[in-house]
């Protein structure tokens, strides 16, 4: 079976595979991207272009922001070989806490935000403590947490909705970054494009889009040059160009749409920055590397001098902070805290991570995958809602998409096996 490996003359340079071979061994990454594009194209057509209208693109981002923020933490928890079922409840609880502090107790907004994030961290730490140091399965600890914090938010809100929030809190979710470029630029661009409905183009959003796209292409090119240098298996040129063109075009397109509405939402900035930070942590830091090792083989990680308990503890603490952040955004978006907030949301978050290619047994998964997975779910939700499909069918379809994604994973793995 190992004949391929027992080849006695090792080639230092990776051989360039044919395009077909490359595609079949990297089907997962491309598959996800294609699926997202296909789903968007489908809904764009069946909704008569409503999906990609400027307002709806803005909405899509706002609606999914808290899912994505939590998916970042959940990816790490799942890669470490655990799961967190409590995030929906924790999110709801933090929203309730914020409402009670701001609305009922008149605490200042910045202080409330700080307290809420700290409380989220403490909740995560409390759950992580039992998982990491007592080896209690995370499924059970966080199932308990799910019930406890659902109950606590009910208790805190006394069963009532509490709101509305002051403006300065609402901008967390509904605010937009002011255009730093002169208004006349945006106006004249709108004029040049001879738009009928739009009087003004948000230049900041447009420039950010172009800059981010350029950045992605530049990083890609640099990585490719380095891969060459070290003989790492290369993506075929066609794929590299196609992928970068698609990603860059999509990014500029989305930003362009945003620029036609009200510009960059604050949440998008938060989300983007967090995504970049977490992608960096997981891919390029020792902590990230150790989490993958912990999830891939806990015993081997331990015998390599890695403090596995501490890492598990940190993964849950981090999840708590992110759930709190999501709770603040969610409350600010709804402009009220309700006892039902975040109900069953943990399932959407977990589904996003698995659709993004993470493995239930740990050690596998990427931040980008989780974010794209969350968007895929978001587009499905949004598109089906626009089409007026009932919540009953929506649930079924989402369930089947999750199953299909995981089956696809397992099938791919067996094929390579």
């Amino acid at each position: 079976m190992d004949l391929a490996q027992s080849d006695t003359n090792p080639a230092p340079q990776a051989k360039t595979k044919s395009i077909g071979q490359y595609l079949s061994s990297h089907l997962r990454q491309y598959g996800l991207l294609f699926a997202l594009i296909a789903v968007m194209a489908f809904f764009q057509i069946v909704t008569d272009g409503t999906l990609l209208r400027a307002v709806n693109v803005t909405n899509l981002l706002l609606q999914n922001s808290y899912i994505i923020i939590m998916a970042l933490g959940m990816l790490i928890v799942i890669v470490s070989g655990n799961i967190d079922l409590s995030v929906g409840s924790v999110m709801g609880f933090i929203g309730a806490l914020a409402a009670v502090m701001i609305v009922n107790m008149d605490v200042s907004v910045p202080l409330t935000i700080i307290v809420c994030l700290v409380v989220g961290g403490l909740i995560g730490a409390a759950q992580g403590y039992w998982v990491a140091y007592w080896k209690i399965p995370s499924f059970i600890v966080t199932l308990a947490g799910m019930l406890v914090f659902r109950g606590l938010s009910l208790w805190l809100l006394e069963g009532q909705s509490v709101g509305p929030f002051p403006k300065e809190f609402q901008i967390l979710a509904t605010g937009f970054v002011p255009d730093i470029f002169p208004v006349s630029w945006g106006d004249s661009l709108a004029g040049m494009l001879e738009m009928r409905r739009v009087k003004h183009v948000n230049m900041l959003a447009l420039f950010t889009g172009v800059a981010a796209a350029a950045m992605i292409v530049w990083i890609g090119l640099r990585q490719r040059a380095q891969n060459r240098l070290y003989g790492i298996e290369d993506e075929p040129k066609v794929f590299f160009i196609a992928r970068n063109v698609i990603v860059a075009a999509a990014l500029i397109f989305v930003m362009y749409k945003l620029s036609l509405f009200r510009g960059l939402p604050n949440v998008l900035i938060t989300m983007g920055v967090l995504t970049i930070i977490y992608a960096f942590i997981t891919e390029s830091t020792t902590v990230g590397r150790r989490i993958y090792a912990l999830g891939g083989n806990e015993k081997a990680a331990k015998l390599s001098g890695i403090k596995t308990e501490r890492l598990t503890f940190l993964a849950f603490t981090n999840m708590g902070v992110l759930a709190a952040a999501a709770g603040l955004v969610f409350a600010a978006r709804l402009n009220t805290a309700t006892p039902k907030a975040g109900f069953a949301l943990e399932l959407d978050v977990i589904a996003a991570v698995f659709i993004g290619g993470a493995s239930m047994s740990g050690g596998v998964g990427t931040i980008i995958g989780a974010v794209v997975g969350a968007f895929l779910m978001g587009v499905l939700n949004n598109g089906m809602s626009i089409m007026g499909i009932g919540i009953d069918y929506q649930q079924m379809i989402k369930g089947l998409v999750l199953l299909a994604a995981v089956i696809f994973d397992v099938y791919n793995k067996n094929k390579q096996g």
Binding site: Q5, S6, T8
Partner: protein, 504 residues
């Protein structure tokens, strides 16, 4: 009469020809050994025979008992009386011996198990394989050696015509292995035909009537025991080259004492009051390879792991000195920082993150040296992994290959690379050549010699006595948690080691 005749078997996997016109003829009532290096195609051949790869997925013909055999799955071959016992035992630990033996084949009347019949037949079978355990004993509570016997009893319960044992003694101790081999000979007198797949040539010589050697997916030779089997001849056929020396020629000159462990005591992590290591004291000089011999369960691995960051046991006491200074080995990373490395006996479940690349695994135990301010320098990592790939001759197209796709010998080299990168003063190697083929073993031995030449101290734990005798300058003998003897290379022999264990 030939019971089994596999003729011109060829099997291709995408891109690899695993078997090429292999022939295997097994006579009624004989013990037939199939030997070959890892990856030679032995397991593939057995999977074809047992129907794991169904008829039609390979070329060639199988005659069993004179009839054309076309198995579509394992149940087909089992019905014909071909039973295969895999390296990894297929027993359910939480069930009793009796339940395991009749699993899937329950003695039952309309779905209700007849326990009296089950236990009676189990007792008969256990007597047959010479296992003195109650049928109700949980499999979890008996050792690997006895579990192997349960597997054989299970095979016998199914009216076996051809028993296939895949590396049956890989996890066994000398005396358990001997018992198992004697059982095979005993079963032979009762008319059971068996095939044994093994790396251990002394065992092959002990039991086999005929030996078929497979190399690179082809039948190389068929040797008859009546004509006399020479291990050297078998090895030559296996590796395709002369291996007059199974151990690299080497002369060592040990320096001053490097590691000194004194009065080391360890208690069992769960059974309080059970002492696993008793007052063990030993030392290793720089440039020296020191062996620890002993039966399985004698506490060798426990000794090593308890020293390495207290990875085993509780209430550990004793002192560890490196270069005359007492060092702190209370956690794994402290032990690593102090200059001690431990290469585990189980590379798959304790040594490697199989899903990850060679590069990932190589730097895992020493990420500090490939990062600045906890940001990884990935190019530096690649450079280091590449350096070890060349230095240890890890056979792979690139260091980005997942370790799961490597052969056993190459995986072991990756584990070694990981620990060499921590730049240890003392390396503890636990069964460093278990389950890897003759050629790779030689390479591992060469690496060990190089380490000793660099002035490092090497502790080598092994169940294969010839390996200890061939490699070590000094050998400690361990029995029931205590070091019961110390032999210099010149005075050591298998007999002397055994007698130290027995006469304790």
């Amino acid at each position: 009469m030939a019971l089994l005749s596999m003729q011109n078997i060829s099997k291709t996997f995408p891109g690899v020809k695993a078997l090429d016109q292999v022939n295997l003829d097994v006579q009624q009532g004989e013990i037939h050994a199939v030997v070959g290096e890892n990856g030679a195609g032995k397991s593939t051949l057995m999977k074809i025979l047992s129907g794991v790869y169904p008829h039609g997925s390979y070329d060639g013909k199988i005659l069993f008992g004179g009839a054309d055999a076309k198995f579509a799955g394992i149940s087909d071959s089992e019905r014909e009386g071909i039973i295969i016992i895999h390296q990894e035992l297929a027993l359910v630990p939480q069930l009793s011996i009796a339940e395991n033996i009749f699993l899937g084949n329950e003695r039952a009347r309309s779905g209700v198990i007849d326990w009296r019949e089950t236990n009676r037949r189990t007792e008969d079978l256990l007597a047959k394989v010479g296992l003195a355990e109650a049928p109700s004993t949980l499999v979890d509570n008996i050792g690997v050696g006895k579990q192997q016997l349960v597997e054989i009893a299970k095979a016998l319960s199914k009216d076996v015509k051809l028993l296939i044992l895949d590396e049956p003694t890989a996890a066994l101790q000398e005396n358990d292995s001997r018992k198992l081999l004697d059982l095979m000979l005993e079963l032979k007198t009762q008319g059971v035909t068996s095939i044994i797949i093994s790396h251990k040539l002394n065992e092959v010589r002990y039991v086999a009537d005929t030996v078929t050697v497979i190399r690179d997916g082809m039948t190389v030779s068929r040797l008859d025991a009546k004509a006399g089997l020479s291990e050297d001849a078998i090895v030559r056929d296996m590796v395709g080259r002369d291996m007059t020396h199974r151990f690299p020629e080497h002369r060592r000159s040990p320096g001053k004492i490097l590691l000194e462990v004194e009065n080391w005591n360890v208690w069992h992590p769960e059974h309080t009051g059970r002492q696993v290591i008793r007052n063990a004291s030993f030392n290793v000089r720089s440039g020296e390879v020191v062996g620890i011999a002993g039966l399985m369960g004698s506490g060798r691995t426990e000794l090593a792991m308890s020293i390495f960051g207290r990875s085993y046991g509780r209430n550990i006491s004793g002192s560890v000195k490196l270069n005359d200074n007492e060092i702190d080995v209370s956690t794994v990373d402290r032990a690593i920082n102090a200059g001690i490395s431990y290469v585990t006996e189980d590379r798959k479940s304790l040594g490697l993150v199989l899903e990850e690349s060679i590069r990932f695994n190589t730097t895992l135990a020493n990420l500090d040296d490939v990062s600045s301010g906890s940001v990884l320098k990935k190019n530096e990592e690649t450079r280091i992994a590449e350096r070890f790939r060349q230095a240890l001759a890890i056979r792979t197209p690139s260091v980005f290959q997942k370790t799961m796709n490597l052969s056993g010998g190459n995986q072991q080299k990756v584990v070694l690379a990981k620990w060499l990168f921590t730049e240890p003063e003392v390396l503890i190697l636990d069964e460093p050549t278990r389950g890897i083929d003759v050629g790779a073993k030689y390479e591992i031995y060469t690496i060990i010699n190089d380490l000793a030449d660099q002035g490092k101290g090497v502790v080598m734990i092994s169940s294969e006595m010839p390996e200890l005798l061939g490699m070590c300058d000094r050998i400690y003998v361990m029995n029931e948690g205590a070091l019961v003897g110390e032999l210099n290379a010149a005075d050591a022999s298998q007999e002397r080691i055994m007698s130290l264990i027995v006469n304790e």
